[in-house]
Amino acid sequence: MKAEGKRNIWREYQKEIACDHFYYQRSCIRQNFFPASEKTFLKILRDELGKDIYDDPLHTTCTGIGYHTDVVPFDTIQAVVARHFALMTEAGYKNMAISCVTSFGIYSEITETWKEFPEELEKVRKSLKKAIGKEFEVPANIAHASDIIYKFKGEIAEKQQFELINKQTGKPLKIVEHIGCHYSKMFPSKGVGGAEFPHVLSGMIEEWGGEVVDYPERRHCCGFGFRQYMVQSNRGYSLSNSKKKFESMEPYMPDAIVANCPGCNMFLDKWQYTLAEMQGKTYGQNGKGIPVLTYEELAGLVLGYNPWDLGLQMHQIDCEPLLDKMKVPYNPEDKYLGANKKYIGRPEVAACLA
């Protein structure tokens, strides 16, 4: 492996990412499965980096899941996106920060469509004005939230409390990075590092002391794929994709997986439980699963946030082995206590993971 070759590719794919004043577009499923990630993102931007970011309660789903399962037509999703742009315009912002990789893909696809087919943009403007009386500007800058953390990874490193180092061995933690397909596989130029050797997550890992695992099925989809999962009879296909990835990464003995897509985070975490239940097979060390983190959770750990404030108790795969390696302090008794110290329940654990 020649690192210089990768660096040459990364130089080709450096996108413009705004510095400040963001309009935040939340994700539908992240708020359910990794609810503290978005909160952590806002905290890092506001409290650590001193940035202005507006979390608008008026915005809705982008309808991307419906679009990719052929339930929502293109005209409809254009109108929904245009409404979000109108909300952003009304709030006085020009830079969009998008939490979800699918939403990021949707916004990219629609704004590119408008560049190629200006008549579509005019049609949407007229429709939105007629329907709800709103007008909008196309954002000056559209970034995925992971782009923004990537941009400020150095500033985060300056405040770093815990390195991505295995304190038991003194060696860098081996971390699998996984980007969502809709991050850069549709538009390689819109992703940091492009589609084949993306740098957005690997840049964070390296900056914070870890080592990126380059395994053969690194590029492979996590298996979510919308209709693979949404259509119940296709779920075996979804699971088999994740299994292929786990088998491929297993020989490298990764300490963690970090992803930037709601679906990838969810499936790489929860399919490990499913495979353990179905086959009694685990892919991590000491018979455990491989902890799966969002990039905000990873940044939060590096910054010294309490793991339970980061929502790590919501993961199917326990993160304690990773915390122990990093020597991040945590109180096991607080793990399943909510904000009001009330017991929130705990996920089922496969027998072989217990």
Partner: protein, 341 residues
């Protein structure tokens, strides 16, 4: 005859055309940016289809370059180009002026930069090389091994890298890669008879004389496996072997295979020298960036400007054989032009 010609480019086409014109009595100045003449030929080991040593053609060109009437100018580039009544004045990077009644552009091609096919991992994975790299290795005579020094058990040749590929902007066929892949596969089989060799192709364009025969020989006598399918990606395994993915379009199934070495059969692209001189001379380019010829059937050596001619692969991809023939016809066109003008 008292007329002078400047040939820009001292590769196969430039030397061949210049040699013929010198034999006809013209004074020919050959401008070459490199210290040596002969172009990329000096990097090739054997030539298809008959496996002759490339050095034989090099020797021929070396003799041709010594034809009385030729003056060779190595390490020289053209800095400016001016039209005068009798023809052209070209000024070199050394400040030397060359007067010419006619100019031949013979700036050749560049090998496609395989790192642009990012999914194949060239210059990232240790054991992904190009056909140009392999040719140098074969010529050097060093044992063909992986980077770790292991004899490869399996080698995959990947056809059409940078050719017939809209993604990289080259929809044209480079013409020489198919037969080069077959030739190199045979050469490797002769060196490493126990190694399994696979050629992944879209379709094999064996259009030249004896090309189809060596394709047949590769299968019958050298046990080369030809798989119709374009590679989707290359990844590296933990032992630095390579995992390749393709679709076998004949069996209609996806295919995964571990190999020790991947050879990318890189196509041709217009060189930066061609672009620069084309712009300096104010001649037109075709849609791919090669120098445009006004009539594909009847004016293959002319350009959009009178008195400026083209020879060799700066007008389109060509084999060594085609380049020599094209250079000879360029010499004829220049001769006719100078007689008529």
């Amino acid at each position: 005859m008292g007329k002078s010609i400047v040939t820009i480019g001292g590769g196969i086409a430039g030397i061949e055309a210049s040699g013929i014109l010198a034999e006809l009595g013209y004074a020919v100045s050959v401008i070459e940016k490199e210290p040596d003449f002969g172009g990329k030929l000096k990097n090739w080991d054997h030539l298809f289809p008959n496996m002759r040593k490339a050095e034989e053609i090099e020797d021929y060109l070396s003799r041709k370059g010594k034809t009385p009437g030729i003056t060779l100018f190595p390490n020289t580039t053209i800095a400016s180009f001016e039209n005068i009544k009798s023809g052209f004045v070209l000024k070199s990077n050394h400040g030397v002026s060359y007067s010419a009644h006619a100019v031949i552009v013979a700036t050749g091609f560049e090998v496609f930069s395989a790192e642009r096919k990012e999914e194949y991992g060239y210059k990232i994975y240790d054991n992904v090389i190009t056909s140009a790299d392999l040719e140098k290795r074969l010529k050097s005579g060093t044992p063909l091994t992986t980077l770790a020094g292991k004899t490869p058990q399996r080698i995959a040749f990947i056809h059409c890298v940078g050719s017939r590929d809209a993604k990289v902007g080259n929809t044209y066929c480079s013409k020489v890669c198919c037969v080069t892949g077959v030739k190199q596969a045979i050469e490797v089989n002769k060196l490493l008879p126990a190694t399994q060799i696979f050629n992944f192709y879209m379709d094999l364009r064996m259009h030249g004389l004896e090309h189809e025969e060596i394709y047949k020989t590769a299968q019958e006598k050298h046990n080369i496996q030809f798989i119709r399918g374009r590679l989707s990606e290359v990844s590296e395994n933990i032992d630095h072997s390579l995992l390749i993915k393709a679709e076998d379009t004949l069996s209609g199934r996806p295919l995964k295979m571990n190999v020790d070495l991947v050879v990318l059969l890189v196509g041709m692209e217009p060189g930066v020298g061609t672009t620069a001189i084309g712009k300096a001379c104010n001649i037109e380019f075709n849609q791919y960036g090669y120098l445009k010829i006004p009539d594909v059937h009847l004016a293959g050596n002319l350009t959009s400007r009178k008195g400026i001619f083209v020879a060799g692969s700066c007008s389109c991809p060509m084999s060594v054989k085609d380049t020599i023939e094209h250079a000879r016809s360029a010499a004829f066109e220049v001769h006719r032009y100078l007689i008529e003008n």
